[in-house]
């Protein structure tokens, strides 16, 4: 098993030691960061620290030095965001800090995305996001969108008060396979079920995956309406999107 001392970057070592509690997460991150190069550890550290200028500079430098775009994305940016996600879940960092790390992720992805696109590597996925019909709340949904974009997803934002037909049309127009539905009101939550039904009626339910979220939404409710997953916050949304993207790619 990998040890803390196998990791070159002191900041990363401190992060793992100070903030990680669950044995499986400690083990996973020790294995991850002891495998990746010191340059990738530096990128991850800057991202955790929310330093977009440094992430921008180090990403460029790594690319110029011949490191692959996918390696930087997985071993630097996504690896760093994994730590941020755990710290947020455990209450060590707060919403503004997660947003600052997401901004740093975006700074790195700005270099990565064109290269991936040019080399024919598909983006990790396209997500259609919207607040369901009858509901005008969008702060949580917009947080999810920021984090998804930071995480390498292409996001089509349908805004608020999105009808089932609009979700179906957007999926067809953008050849997307992931749909995120948000609701803040118990009175509009049933429209999540109506949206899933609309996909069944259109005969394309099997080719897509539904994510649901929003303050009153529960995982149990998500199952009831036939969604494929529930995310309790913006970081959980990204985790879920990654998991579901694998199923439909």
């Amino acid at each position: 098993m990998a040890q803390l001392s196998d990791i070159a970057n002191e900041f990363i070592r401190d992060e793992i030691e100070e903030f990680l509690e669950r044995p499986e997460e400690i083990e996973r991150n020790l294995a991850l960061f002891s495998r990746v190069s010191p340059a990738m550890q530096d990128i991850a550290a800057a991202l955790i620290d929310g330093d977009d200028v440094t992430v921008d500079r180090l990403t460029r430098k790594a690319l110029d030095g011949g490191v692959g775009a996918l390696e930087i994305m997985d071993d630097g940016l996504i690896a760093g965001m994994g730590i941020v996600g755990i710290k947020f879940r455990e209450g060590y960092v707060f919403v503004p800090e997660v947003l600052v790390s997401a901004r740093a992720m975006k700074a790195g992805m700005a270099h990565i995305e064109p290269i991936l696109a040019a080399s024919g590597v598909e983006p990790i996925g396209t997500v259609i996001m919207g607040t369901v019909q009858g509901d005008l709340h969008d702060i949580g949904k917009n947080l999810c969108i920021m984090m998804l974009r930071g995480g390498g997803f292409t996001v089509i934002d349908l805004g608020v008060n999105t009808s089932p037909a609009e979700f179906v049309a957007a999926v067809e127009e953008h050849s997307a396979h992931l749909i995120g539905m948000s609701a803040l009101l118990t009175t509009t939550m049933p429209n999540m079920a109506k949206t899933v039904e609309a996909f069944k009626d259109a005969g394309i339910r099997e080719s897509v995956r539904f994510m649901v979220g929003g303050a009153p939404v529960t995982p149990e409710f998500g199952k009831d309406v036939g969604a494929d997953g529930y995310g309790k916050d913006a970081l959980a949304c990204v985790e879920l999107a990654k998991k579901l993207a694998v199923e439909v790619n």
């Binding site: 919403v95 503004p96 800090e97 005008l136 969008d138 702060i139 509009t188 049933p190 529960t218």
Partner: protein, 340 residues
Amino acid sequence: MSRRFTVIGENVHTSRIVLRKGKRFAIHGGVEGVKFVSVDGSPGFLVISETMRASQAYDEGRIKHIALAVDTAMGGGDGAQAGYEYLRRVVVDQEQTGAHYLDVNVDEISLKLVEQRKAMEWLVGYVRSLTTLPISVDSSDITVIETGLAVATGTGDGRPMLNSASLERAEAVELAVEYGARVIVTAAGAAGMPSDAAERIDNASRMVEAALRVGIAMEDIFVDPLVFPISVDGAFGLHTLDAIREIRRRFGPEIHITGGMSNVSFGIPARRLMNTVFINLAVEAGADSGIIDPVMNPLSAVFAADRDSEPYRIAEDVLLGRDEHCMNYIRAWRKGALNP
């Protein structure tokens, strides 16, 4: 403070949670529950239902305690008394800490509107048996509001509040007339939430005019310009404060200006401090009411806050858009510099 500040106590709300890792959670004889002290001083224990224990929210440590108490009391049987006592405690706490209205919301009791209406009717009836404070009937569904208003109507100061009417359902102001209720009108748009101060002012003004048109008196209108979390965007504080200033200027001294003040501190630490400073800034801008938890933010403490203290100024910088991403504020919190 020249005019009275109207506190709309926000805690009789089914979305409210206590944490399993918090000090209110306990296990008595293998049974999990929420500890409380009854109004008569005796210890109480609200048992967590099987349904709630099976939920993932509970698994992740969140207990919807108000919803649990309502379910328990409405369920009848031997355990019901704990639900009644629990709610009595909440109502008495809100009243004793200075609530002028009790906001009652049962949206999260069930997804079925028929269940929500049943719970609203029951809860309003029960709260009325405990207090003479008027009730603010709060729901995202107009039929649930109507059900609540029908049983919340009293006389004189007992006139209820309708929470809320907005451009999305402007006709709700007519319901206020029908039940002799005061009304909260919000700055939500017909097709979306306002993105700045100007949209707030425009939407709210149209609602004020709609309320005046159906004959509601200026002093019976409470404008909610909408308060969004400062953690998400540093400009959100000024959007609301600028809107308050202009609405006060435009409609004069009689109209009331309120808002869900504690929304501002979602996603950041030291929420009590941030709420305190925001309420003060809102009052300086012209607000004279708040939908707040007076247990967490009693007015006496809110208005006694030392405006020259370092914590106050650090929080004020956040709210006035002078601390990008709350970085200085969070840093100060980590150093312990935000403690009173």
